[in-house]
């Protein structure tokens, strides 16, 4: 890869994680020109978030499960024919028949690219969980905690707690411990029996594609040995503190138990990044169990709009190994559409990926079942809990309006929920769950907010510097 300079591409790839890299490698192997756009300076995605090149990173991502991803990253970085457009956000995606235009905001202002094919492999983000105290400094998504550690070597507190339903938090806790941090507790919301049951039912699957679960098991042993409490059936009631996090309160039967911590990572799952999908009007569906909107696609990962392709967590959060195979298939699909490869050859080359996907599907289901956050998310929060943190809209304020209307856009207009800088990324899923509770329908039957340009706030000066004509 090298830093991009031209604007004439066969395909644009949004996202430099495992899916985007895999697609780019396929395209480059077939001598198609592509550019990969990413918000980070260096490729890797969230899973292989790289420290700056100037950092010494001897222990970076050394766990065994990262190995195949690191191999692919190395191939991506050394492959010719791929332009890397790092430190840039895609803020607009519009499709007009055969051409798709992507508006990019970055350190050098705005750039507009058009290409016959665009792959959206934009990944996922921490599922934000609105509980009392979740906006206090020191409280964050566990993924953010891990990113700070991986990319900058930063520990977010002196005593760090993790709470949620996702087994990934065992790995994060172990990484914090390995970096010299103190982990106050790893608190799983679900009872241990759910782990045991899910593992038993899927014993074959779990063992064959152990990846993350094996790492989680190892991490659990490390934590136990280090005396870090890993507890189950711990229902987080709220985060306390004045200026910043001072502790967390868990329900323990009929009583409450408080622990002390100055930082807490919430780990209930991940939501697909769907702002660009929805801005471009692509067909999406609700991604149970954690939620968010996932793109629909065909066998070659083409979305509902010809020429726009999707891969990885954008199609439903299922983990890096699956994302990578989907990215490969999307790359082959684009080459097939450009007639750089015959349908027969494309089918032949995609076979191995399809086999992996079939085998991994069971594991993805197992993991989703284990980590299912829905019980925790449907617990009714105290009325003063903030649902929209950008505009300070409480559950009570939304509740008042919910009796009048169950239309997410109407509630947005009346309460300002979702009108802030995050464009509803934090609050939309929580609002849709409240709407579903009110109507008795399942979540996702009602549409969410209408997605609008820009996907990230951008200065008016930058917008005008770029010749939009």
């Amino acid at each position: 890869m090298h830093n991009g300079s031209t604007t004439d591409y066969d395909a644009l790839i949004i996202g430099g994680g495992p899916a985007g890299q895999a697609a780019a490698i396929e395209l480059a192997n077939l001598r198609l020109r592509c550019a990969v756009i990413d918000e980070q300076a260096r490729p890797g995605g969230q899973i292989l978030r790289q420290p700056p090149a100037s950092f010494e990173a001897s222990h970076w991502a050394e766990e065994a499960s990262y190995r195949p991803l690191k191999q692919q990253l190395h191939q991506f970085e050394t492959q010719s024919g791929i332009d890397w457009l790092g430190r840039r956000s895609v803020i607009g995606l519009q499709s007009d028949g055969t051409s798709h235009s992507v508006l990019i905001s970055g350190a050098n202002g705005l750039q507009q690219f058009t290409a016959p094919h665009v792959l959206i492999a934009a990944g996922c983000y921490d599922l934000p969980v609105a509980i009392p105290g979740w906006t206090l400094p020191g409280a964050m998504g566990a993924g953010a905690m891990q990113t700070l550690l991986k990319a900058q070597g930063i520990l977010t507190g002196e005593r760090i707690a993790l709470a949620g339903t996702h087994p990934l938090m065992l790995l994060i806790a172990a990484q914090i411990h390995a970096a010299g941090g103190t982990v106050a507790e790893v608190a799983f919301d679900q009872p241990f029996t759910r782990f045991a049951k899910a593992m038993g039912r899927n014993l074959g699957t779990g063992l064959r594609h152990a990846g993350l679960l094996a790492e989680a098991g190892k991490a659990m042993l490390t934590l136990r040995r280090a005396g870090v409490p890993v507890r189950f059936g711990r229902k987080l009631q709220g985060i306390i503190g004045r200026e910043q996090v001072a502790g967390a309160i868990f329900a323990a039967g009929a009583t409450e138990e408080q622990i002390a911590c100055d930082s807490i990572g919430l780990c209930y799952g991940f939501l697909p990044q769907s702002d660009l999908l929805r801005q471009a009007g692509l067909a999406v569906e609700w991604a149970a169990p954690a939620g968010g909107w996932a793109a629909r696609h065909d066998d070659w990962m083409q979305s509902s709009t010809p020429g726009l392709w999707v891969a990885g967590e954008t199609t439903g959060v299922a983990g890096a190994p699956i994302a990578r195979e989907e990215g490969r298939i999307a790359g082959l699909g684009i080459a097939r559409a450009l007639e750089r490869i015959t349908p027969e050859d494309a089918a032949e080359q995609a076979k191995s990926s399809r086999t992996v996907l079939r085998k991994m599907a069971g594991f993805a289901d197992l993991l989703a079942g284990l980590a299912d956050p829905r019980e925790a998310l449907t617990r009714i929060q105290p009325p003063e809990t903030l649902i929209c943190r950008c505009e300070n809209v409480s559950a009570a304020a939304i509740g008042d309006v919910l009796r009048e209307t169950q239309d997410a856009n109407a509630i947005k207009r009346i309460t300002r929920c979702g009108m802030g800088a995050c464009q509803g990324r934090s609050c939309e899923h929580a609002l849709l769950r409240m709407i579903a509770r009110e109507t008795g329908q399942s979540v996702g039957q009602q549409p969410g907010f209408t997605a609008r340009f820009p996907a990230r706030p951008v200065s008016i000066g930058d917008l005008l510097e770029h010749d939009l004509q």
Binding site: A410, P454, I460, L463
Partner: protein, 384 residues
């Protein structure tokens, strides 16, 4: 009184416009050949009434609508534009609108954040803005308290007149069952009759009139609006430009809204425009609108654009709104067309008087400029 709304109150143009309360003669009238003529003057007459309506709205309805009437400036960058301002102000004064022309120094004194390149401005003290996002929902609540039955998520699928009364079919879609029942969304159909019907459905008004067998020549105007991040209050005025498409104001929450009538692009299907999808953003409109904003208020170049959105308003060929009774079908009323946010409360009050036959002659006279009677040349061909 029954009210059917196909989505939720404020879902269409009334909730998506940028909330200007503009009472000076609009730039779109000035753009026309001999623009200071009949149409501009006639809407100035309606504006005079609208000023009173907006000034007393919060008191008469006893609700908070975030109405700010701290004045509006329509600015000019060139000598030709200044001439236009002066002619416009003279005509407005003759029509009873209190508009003054102020020079560059006075513009800077009142609004130092405006560009020093601005040569003059028309100032009207009554202009301002209101929070478009809450007006329709708040009116809905007030109507419900007054005894109206409101049906949201409800479309009219048939409307016709038999003898002396109208019959309509209403289709309500779920979620009809509130409160935790797990029944799936279902469609409920009702047939109702009424002595009188008011169509006030923005761009959909044309289709509703067609159901009744009449022409209502309204055309979709897909527009672009923009909003910046919040800032501390600094801008009490509505800002418009006499020669460029621009409106700017700071909403109660602190965000600056930027609009002014820049086009967006309608989606189309095989037969017609598709009103169900938000129009597509047009890059040239976004750039043009923001450029006009920066040239008028240079400091806004450092603000972050939070969101751009599109919405569809309805306009007539003569740019005048439509409000009143169809002579071809007594009992059928309409209130739609351009400036329907600023003029909405006035239309509501006067058309209600027509419907209720209270001081009807006066209401007829005030609304004569907007009367659907001007479509009789078309509706004369429509057999009932």
């Amino acid at each position: 009184m029954w009210l059917a709304e196909q989505a939720s109150p404020g879902h269409g143009a009334s909730g998506q416009n940028a909330g200007s309360l503009h009472f000076q003669i609009e730039r779109r009238f000035l753009e026309r050949e001999g623009g200071l003529g009949y149409e501009g003057e006639q809407t100035a007459r309606l504006s005079r009434i609208a000023v009173e309506d907006w000034s007393s709205l919060e008191t008469t309805m006893d609700i908070d609508l975030n109405i700010h009437m701290n004045g509006g400036l329509m600015v000019a960058h060139s000598a030709a534009e200044v001439e236009l301002l002066e002619a416009k102000a003279a005509r407005e004064q003759a029509m009873g609108l209190s508009v003054e022309t102020i020079d560059a120094a006075e513009v800077q004194r009142r609004a130092p954040y405006l560009s020093p390149d601005i040569l003059a401005a028309n100032f009207m003290a009554a202009e301002g803005h209101a929070d478009a996002r809450i007006i329709a929902p708040t009116f809905t609540q007030a109507a419900r308290s007054a005894g109206a039955r409101i049906f949201t998520g409800t479309r009219i699928t048939a409307l016709r007149k038999h003898g002396g009364h109208f019959s309509a079919t209403m289709e309500s879609r779920g979620p009809a069952q509130a409160g935790g029942s797990s029944r799936p969304a279902k469609t409920e159909t009702r047939r109702i009759t009424a002595a009188k019907v008011l169509i006030c459905s923005g761009i959909w008004s044309r289709q509703l009139a067609a159901m009744a067998g009449l022409h209502l020549p309204l055309f979709p105007a897909p527009l672009t609006m923009n909003v910046t991040q919040r800032r501390d209050p600094f801008l009490p005025y509505l800002i418009q430009h006499v020669g460029r498409r621009l409106s700017m104001k700071q909403a109660s929450a602190g965000n600056v809204l930027i609009g002014g009538g820049w086009p967006s692009r309608m989606w189309r299907n095989e037969h017609e425009f598709d009103f169900t999808r938000p129009p597509a953003l047009v890059a040239e409109s976004l750039a043009g609108n923001l450029k006009a904003a920066v040239e008028t208020m240079p400091g806004i170049v450092d603000f972050d654009l939070l969101r751009s959105w599109t919405g569809i308003t309805a306009v007539t060929q003569d740019q005048l709104p439509v409000a009143g009774e169809f002579p071809a079908m007594p009992g059928l009323f309409c209130a739609a067309g351009g400036s329907a946010f600023t003029l909405g409360p006035t239309f509501a009050r006067l058309v209600s008087r027509q419907i209720l036959e209270q001081d009807r002659a006066e209401a007829d006279a005030l609304l004569s400029v907007a009367s659907p009677a001007r479509f009789e040349s078309l509706n004369g061909f429509m057999g009932q």
